[in-house]
Symmetry: C2
């Protein structure tokens, strides 16, 4: 049986995670959130956070479109985004790099300059890794961070009645990819969002102190709302008209004849944050200087994750990107 026949990436992860040992007393959160959470010293010492992401040439980036610096930035930011989504602070990075035999030293150095740029921005040290030869450029990053126990935010803590919010416009990365794939030239804004995104560590801490659940948007709003609802045993209603879209994403939609909501809901790689919080906290968050957009609310109907369009029509909120599907 092929992976797509069992439902793709997430079904595979479920099956594989049942094969291997996972439970231990010091494990606060194992497989199933943006990062694992470990108690490495008695509380109130911070928990250790661990996340890992692998980027493969042709699948996650295209060397014809992206400079090595941009690939380095993207590889770093998508991991920092996972630590941010836990309410944590990124600290130590480990980089495994597969390079074809004829790679120019300058190209490898460019990738590291990109990694270094993100790491300096977020005060992260690179402390090790592995470098080897292979046919396709592959970058695996493992990022460790820390979070005080009372700042930890999990996918599983959303509560019925919570407002659901995002930190910024969605769909830009997917719109840029669609344009590039069709030989068009995206605007500087769209290109930057796709090739060298910046995650939202800048606001994650302030959000964490007021939020219940938090997740980063790496596979599209639809997938991430679904993850929160599943982990929290709740439902959600998202209002289509409330999903923030940048003018240039709308313009790209008109150019390619695509509903830009398709990119926002199913596209992925926006690296904005999605979070739930009591409605009364939203004004406090905004008063603290955090720009955010209320896109819907959490309901007490587990499994019922819906999109309400402008005319009141209700449909199932589509999923996001799923490898192998």
């Amino acid at each position: 049986m092929k992976i797509k026949e069992i439902g793709g990436e997430f079904a595979l992860i479920r099956r594989l995670s049942e094969i291997v040992p996972g439970a231990r007393p010091e494990v606060i959160q194992g497989i199933g959130d943006d990062a694992a959470v470990l108690r490495v010293a008695p509380e109130p010492a911070p928990y250790l956070l661990v996340t890992t992401d692998i980027l493969v040439e042709a699948q996650h980036f295209n060397r014809a479109w992206a400079s090595p610096e941009q690939i380095g930035i993207k590889a770093a930011e998508c991991n920092v985004s996972d630590i941010a989504a836990m309410g944590g602070t990124p600290r130590w990075m480990f980089v495994s790099l597969v390079l074809p035999a004829d790679t120019e030293v300058a190209w490898a150095e460019g990738l590291y300059r990109g990694l270094g740029q993100s790491c300096r921005r977020h005060h992260i040290a690179i402390l090790g890794g592995d470098t080897t030869q292979g046919a396709l450029v592959t970058v695996n990053i493992t990022l460790l961070g820390s979070v005080p126990p009372d700042q930890l935010r999990l996918r599983s803590h959303a509560r019925p009645g919570d407002a659901l919010l995002v930190t910024g416009c969605l769909g830009a990365s997917a719109a840029a990819l669609a344009l590039l794939s069709q030989g068009q030239t995206p605007s500087t804004y769209l290109r930057e969002k796709h090739l060298a995104p910046t995650c939202r560590l800048d606001v994650a801490g302030r959000i964490a102190s007021l939020a219940h659940a938090m997740i980063d948007i790496s596979d599209g709003l639809g997938s991430e709302v679904g993850h929160i609802c599943k982990a929290s045993h709740v439902g959600a209603e998202i209002r289509a008209s409330a999903i923030p879209l940048h003018d240039e994403v709308r313009a790209a939609g008109r150019l390619l004849g695509v509903d830009p909501l398709h990119w926002a809901i199913g596209g992925g790689e926006d690296f904005e944050l999605l979070f739930s919080m009591p409605p009364e906290n939203v004004s406090r968050l905004k008063a603290g200087g955090v720009t955010c957009y209320e896109v819907g609310r959490v309901t007490d109907r587990p499994g019922d994750v819906v999109l309400v369009s402008d005319d009141g029509a209700v449909s199932t909120l589509g999923g996001g990107y799923n490898h192998f599907q």
Copy 2:
């Protein structure tokens, strides 16, 4: 300029590590040992150890020769070996997996059964990872462990006068690979050493309490002696006749017309331990039930790393496996 023109893998790592931020007060050891060492809680709390290794199809394993279970075992053991070489205990594993689109679910499950077998053997929990699609099977493992500060053993702590020892016979993995590459069938012993090795966590703790420097043999004895000497600013004399070779490695050498010392010194993937200790500790170690072989001694001549053959001839000890060279 290509990577091989600057000297391959180790030269590249040196250049890349200069680009990115690395120093921080909590970093006991960054790039340059088998694992990074971090102070995550005030001493005498254990240090955190972090190691990562990436295995790529066609480069590190061959699906025609190795079952998915064996690939899983090898991927786990080579990381556990790095933690063992620091004197530490492995604890938490993170697995990034790249699989071609048409991969059978059963194959992926086999790989996880192999990982699970090693993890159960060493009491490791698998707590996360990333699964994605790509043309070549690629497995990146990040393994976290811990070590009490007084049990930590670094490459840099060898001292002139130390005995140099290894925990077992060398060259079996390289001999098996040579046989397989030429269409021959290795014996069960050789095949197992290459396809599903077992690292030496079983004795690492007992060695650590008596040793100065320790490293695991992943790139061949020559390379690892060189790493210890460079990090410790010492030299070494290895006696060719003292390098332990299994009878089946000698037999493979006769069959293929290869000096088996070539595999032991330059072959790699033995995952035995190489360590230095005061000569008076060797008998104590053996009395404690640890089988080991004294292969030479540490000298006070930095950069002078030599092999002394049976007839007294002295030659430079050749290096081990170096990607991109």
